[in-house]
C-alpha cells in the first residue's frame, strides 16, 4: 500500500480510537459490556478496520503488502483497550484465513490457530520445517492440535470457528465448525471485556473445505506467525498506555520534597518501562517491513519470546511508579499488567517459544 493510503488508514483508526473507543474505556474498573463490545465491533467493521466478508483494507487483509499497517493499527487500538484489540485481531485473522482457504461463512468468526496447551514446543518447529517426525513429536502435536478443547480468550459472539486439526498421519487439515461447544471459565486473569472459554471444535468439517497438505502446512505457519505478531503488537500498545500513564503521574505526584520523576528510583522504573517499549517497537518495526511471505516464523517467535517478559517487566515498573494507586482497579495500571500477563501465556509461553526457536534454527527453518 502507498504511504499516503497507509497514513489515511492509520488516521482513521486513530480517530476511531480517540473518539469512539477511548471515551468508552475511561473507567478501567468497569469493563466494556458485551453489548458495548458488539457495538464497537460493528463500528469497526463498518469503518473497515476489522476484516469482513467484503475484501478491503481491514486488519491482516492485503497480506501481499508489508505487515506494518496491521501492526500499527493493533498497537493503536491496544493503547486504548487491549481487549478490543484482541477481539479485532482474532476476528480479522479468522476472516482472512477463511478467505485464503476459499471457505465461506456468514457473520463473525474465530480462528483457534493455537493448541490445547501452547504450540507444541519444538515438535511444531520440526513439523513446519518438514522434518520427519518421530513418535513423540507426532503424539505431542496430535495432542496439542488435535480435536481436543482449546482454551480461547476472545469475543464469544462468533458464528463459526476455523481451526487447524492435526491428523494421525502427522498432517494438518483446516476445519470449519459452525456449532462448536463452548464452556466458559469465569474470572480469568486479564481481558475483563472478553470471555475466556474452552471450545471443543468437534470433528465437523466442510467436505470440500479441506485443502491440500503442503498448502495447509504453509498456511498454518502463516496463521501462527500472524497470530504471534498480533499478540506482540497488542502487548506493545498496552505497555505504551501504561508508560504514558506512569510518565504523567510521575510528573505531578510529589513525594520526598519534589515530583517523583526527580527521584532516580522512579527514573529507573520509567526507563525500564521505556526501554522495554523501545526494544519491542524496534523489533516489531523490522518485522513489519516484510510481507507475510517474507516473515520468518522463527524470527517472529523469537521476538515474541523476548517481548512478552520485557513488556511485563516494563508494565510492572510503570505500576510501581504509582505506588499504592497502581494497585487500584480504577487507575488502569493493574489491568494492563493483568492483560500483559495474560498475553504472555496465550498461544505459547516464552519458554515454549524459546524451545521452538531453538529447534527451528537447528533444522534450518
Amino acid at each position: 500500500m502507498d504511504s499516503p493510503d497507509q497514513d489515511a488508514v492509520l488516521a482513521e483508526v486513530d480517530r476511531f480510537a480517540t473518539r469512539w473507543l477511548e471515551p468508552r474505556c475511561v473507567r478501567p474498573e468497569l469493563p466494556l459490556t458485551s453489548r458495548d463490545l458488539d457495538a464497537t465491533l460493528v463500528e469497526a467493521r463498518t469503518l473497515g478496520i476489522v476484516a469482513t466478508a467484503d475484501p478491503g483494507l481491514g486488519l491482516w487483509e492485503d497480506l501481499d503488502d508489508t505487515l506494518s499497517r496491521s501492526l500499527r493499527v493493533l498497537v493503536r487500538i491496544a493503547r486504548a483497550n487491549a481487549g478490543v484489540a484482541l477481539a479485532f485481531h482474532l476476528e480479522s485473522l479468522a476472516r482472512v484465513l477463511l478467505r485464503r482457504l476459499g471457505f465461506e461463512a456468514e457473520g463473525p468468526g474465530l480462528a483457534a490457530v493455537f493448541g490445547r496447551y501452547g504450540i507444541g514446543r519444538s515438535a511444531l518447529a520440526r513439523f513446519l520445517a518438514g522434518v520427519q517426525l518421530d513418535e513423540d513429536d507426532r503424539a505431542l502435536l496430535l495432542d496439542v492440535f488435535g480435536a481436543s478443547d482449546r482454551l480461547v480468550t476472545g469475543h464469544d459472539g462468533f458464528s463459526w470457528l476455523l481451526w487447524p486439526a492435526m491428523e494421525d498421519r502427522g498432517t494438518v487439515r483446516w476445519c470449519l465448525t459452525t456449532t462448536p461447544t463452548i464452556r466458559r471459565h469465569p474470572h480469568a486473569h486479564g481481558f475483563d471485556e472478553l470471555a475466556t472459554f474452552s471450545v471443543r471444535p468437534g470433528m465437523r468439517r466442510m467436505g470440500t473445505d479441506c485443502t491440500e497438505e503442503t498448502a495447509n502446512r504453509a498456511l498454518f505457519a502463516e496463521a501462527l506467525t500472524l497470530h504471534a505478531l498480533g499478540l506482540v503488537a497488542i502487548a506493545l500498545g498496552s505497555a505504551q498506555r501504561a508508560h504514558g500513564l506512569a510518565r504523567s503521574f510521575a510528573a505531578t505526584r510529589r513525594q520526598g520534597g519534589k515530583t517523583i520523576d526527580g527521584h532516580p528510583a522512579v527514573q529507573l522504573l520509567l526507563a525500564s518501562s521505556r526501554g522495554a517499549i523501545t526494544s519491542v517497537e524496534g523489533s516489531l518495526e523490522a518485522l513489519g517491513q516484510r510481507s507475510i511471505r517474507g516473515a520468518s516464523i522463527g524470527r517472529v517467535f523469537s521476538v515474541r519470546a523476548e517481548a512478552h517478559p520485557l513488556l511485563c517487566r516494563g508494565a510492572n515498573d510503570a505500576l510501581q511508579v504509582f505506588g499504592g494507586m497502581g494497585y487500584m482497579r480504577d487507575v488502569g495500571l493493574e489491568k494492563v499488567v493483568r492483560d500483559l500477563n495474560h498475553l504472555r501465556v496465550l498461544s505459547g509461553s516464552p519458554p515454549e517459544l524459546a524451545l521452538f526457536v531453538s529447534a527451528w534454527e537447528m533444522h534450518g527453518g
Binding site: 502435536l141 486479564g190 505506588g323 499504592g324
Partner: protein
C-alpha cells in the same frame, strides 16, 4: 492406574538404580552415610524440622488452620462483588471468628493477656508472626491480610508500652476475639499526600502533614484524611498518626481512635487488584476527639513508633512473599504432575524440571532470608527492609515462572496461580514500596558509609 514409581522421571535414572545416589549412598561407610542424605522428604516437613521444636509445633498449627478455614473460602471471596465499607463477606466473617477463637487475632501478647504460648516468648515476636504470614499467604492473600493487619494496629500500643491502653483496650479486645467476637485494630500512617513520605525520614522532613491534632480540653481533636488503611473499615480501633497543630512531622503522635467516635467516617474502600478479602479504607477525621490517655507513647513519639513498627512488621511482610512464592511453586508442581502433554506428564519435560528447580531454589532462599531476620533478637531496619524487598520481588518472579509453566491454563481463576500473582503484587508496594525499602537499607548503613567517606 499404572504405578507411577514403575519408571523414573524422564532424563533421570530410577531411584532403585545403582547409579542413583539414593541407592549408591548405601555403599558409603556407615560413619559417612548420615552426612549426606538422599531421601525423599516433603519440603515443608524438612523446613519445619529445622525450626526449634516450639516454633515447629506453632507452624504446624498455623498450616492446619489455614488449610481448614482459609483455603476452602479463598476463591469465592476473591470474586465476590465489592462490599461496601464495613461489610464483610459472610465467609470472611466466619474465618475471622474462627481465627479469633483459635487465638490468631490476639497472639501479640502471651497468655493469659493474649493467646501466644508463653514459651514462644523465647523467640523474637517477629518469628511466630512471620510463620503465620507465610502459612496464611500461601492459601489466600486477602484473608491473610484481613487476619494479620490487626496486628499492625496493635503494635504501636505494644511498642509504646502504654499499659493503660493495653489494659483498657487491647486486652479486652483480645478476650473478645477469643470469644469469637472479633475486635480488630488498624494502623493509619498513609495520607493522600504522604505515602512514601510517611515511611522514610528524608521525605518526612520535607512534608507538611495532612492529619492534624489540635489540643482541646482533656485531649485532642483530629482532623484530616488517611487512605489505603487495611481493615480500616471494620476495625473497632484505628491508630492514627497525626502532627500537632502548627508543627511538622517531628511532632507526629500516635492516637488510639475508636472507630465509633463522632467525626470518624469511612467514605470508601478501594477496588483492588488482589487481596480482595481485606478492605483498604479511606478514613475521614473531622474533629475526632481523643482523650489524652489514648495518646500512645507520649506526644511527639509517633515517628519513632512508626519506624519501630515497620522494623518489626516488614519481616512478616517478607514472609508473605515466601508464602506467595510457595503457593505458586506448589500449584505449578501439582499442575506439572497432573497435566499430560503428548502422552506424558508435563514434569517429564526437562525444561519444566528446570523451571521447578528454579522456583524451589528461589523460594527457599527467600525463606532463609526471612527466618534469619526473624531470628534476630532486635528487629534491625536494614535486615527487615532487605528481606521485605527481596522476598516480595522473588514472589513476583516465582509467580511469573509458574504462569509460564501453566501456559494458557495460567489465566484460569480456578488454577489459583493468577490470583497468587495479583495478591503477591501488593507486597512490593505496601509497608514502603520496594524502592523505599532499598533506601531503608542504606539509611541504616549511613554512618558506616559516612565513615568510609571520611576515610575512617
Amino acid at each position: 492406574m499404572a504405578d507411577p514409581f514403575a519408571r523414573p522421571l524422564q532424563g533421570h535414572v530410577h531411584p532403585s538404580s545403582v547409579l542413583s545416589p539414593r541407592k549408591a549412598f548405601a555403599r558409603l561407610a556407615s560413619l559417612v552415610r548420615p552426612m549426606v542424605r538422599y531421601e525423599p522428604q516433603d519440603p515443608w516437613e524438612l523446613d519445619t524440622s529445622r525450626l526449634p521444636r516450639l516454633l515447629a509445633a506453632h507452624r504446624r498449627k498455623l498450616r492446619a488452620f489455614a488449610e481448614s478455614w482459609l483455603a476452602p473460602r479463598a476463591l469465592d471471596i476473591d470474586v465476590a462483588p465489592h462490599a461496601p465499607p464495613g461489610k464483610l463477606h459472610p465467609a470472611s466473617r466466619e474465618v475471622l471468628r474462627a481465627a479469633g477463637r483459635a487465638g490468631h487475632l490476639s497472639d501479640l501478647l502471651p497468655r493469659p493477656l493474649g493467646s501466644l504460648d508463653p514459651r514462644l516468648l523465647r523467640f523474637p515476636l517477629a518469628f511466630p508472626q512471620a510463620l503465620k504470614a507465610e502459612e496464611f499467604a500461601r492459601v489466600d492473600g486477602g484473608l491473610m491480610l484481613l487476619l494479620c493487619a490487626t496486628g499492625l494496629g496493635v503494635a504501636p500500643a505494644l511498642l509504646a508500652g502504654n499499659l493503660g491502653a493495653l489494659r483498657r483496650t487491647v486486652i479486652p479486645a483480645f478476650r473478645a476475639c477469643e470469644r469469637g467476637e472479633p475486635h480488630l485494630f488498624a494502623f493509619a500512617i498513609t495520607e493522600p499526600a504522604a505515602g512514601s513520605d510517611a515511611e522514610e525520614s528524608h521525605g518526612a522532613s520535607l512534608l507538611r502533614p495532612g492529619v492534624v491534632a489540635k489540643a482541646c480540653q482533656g485531649g485532642f481533636r483530629l482532623t484530616g484524611r488517611k487512605c489505603y488503611i487495611s481493615g480500616g473499615d471494620i476495625a473497632k480501633h484505628v491508630v492514627v498518626f497525626a502532627a500537632l497543630e502548627g508543627e511538622g512531622m517531628e511532632s507526629w503522635t500516635a492516637f488510639l481512635v475508636p472507630a465509633g467516635a463522632e467525626g470518624f467516617r469511612v467514605p470508601r474502600t478501594e477496588l483492588k487488584m488482589g487481596m480482595r478479602a481485606s478492605g483498604a479504607a479511606e478514613i475521614e477525621l473531622d474533629g475526632v476527639f481523643v482523650p489524652e490517655r489514648d495518646v500512645l507513647g507520649g506526644l511527639r513519639a509517633g515517628w519513632a513508633l512508626n519506624r519501630a513498627v515497620l522494623n518489626v512488621s516488614r519481616i512478616p511482610v517478607a514472609a508473605m512473599g515466601v508464602g506467595f512464592a510457595r503457593a505458586a511453586l506448589e500449584e505449578a508442581t501439582a499442575f506439572a504432575c497432573r497435566f499430560r502433554l503428548g502422552g506424558k506428564p508435563l514434569v517429564d519435560y526437562q525444561d519444566v524440571q528446570l523451571t521447578l528447580a528454579q522456583m524451589m531454589a528461589e523460594t527457599n532462599a527467600a525463606r532463609a532470608l526471612v527466618w534469619q531476620a526473624a531470628a534476630s533478637p532486635q528487629a534491625r531496619q536494614g535486615e527487615a527492609a532487605a528481606a521485605k524487598f527481596h522476598t516480595t520481588d522473588t514472589a513476583r518472579r516465582v509467580c511469573e515462572l509458574a504462569m509460564d509453566l501453566l501456559g494458557n491454563h495460567a489465566v484460569l481463576h480456578e488454577g489459583r496461580v493468577e490470583k497468587v500473582f495479583r495478591d503477591a503484587r501488593l507486597t512490593q508496594i505496601f509497608e514502603g514500596t520496594n524502592q523505599i525499602n532499598r533506601l531503608a537499607v542504606i539509611e541504616e548503613e549511613q554512618e558506616r558509609l559516612l565513615g568510609l567517606l571520611a576515610g575512617r
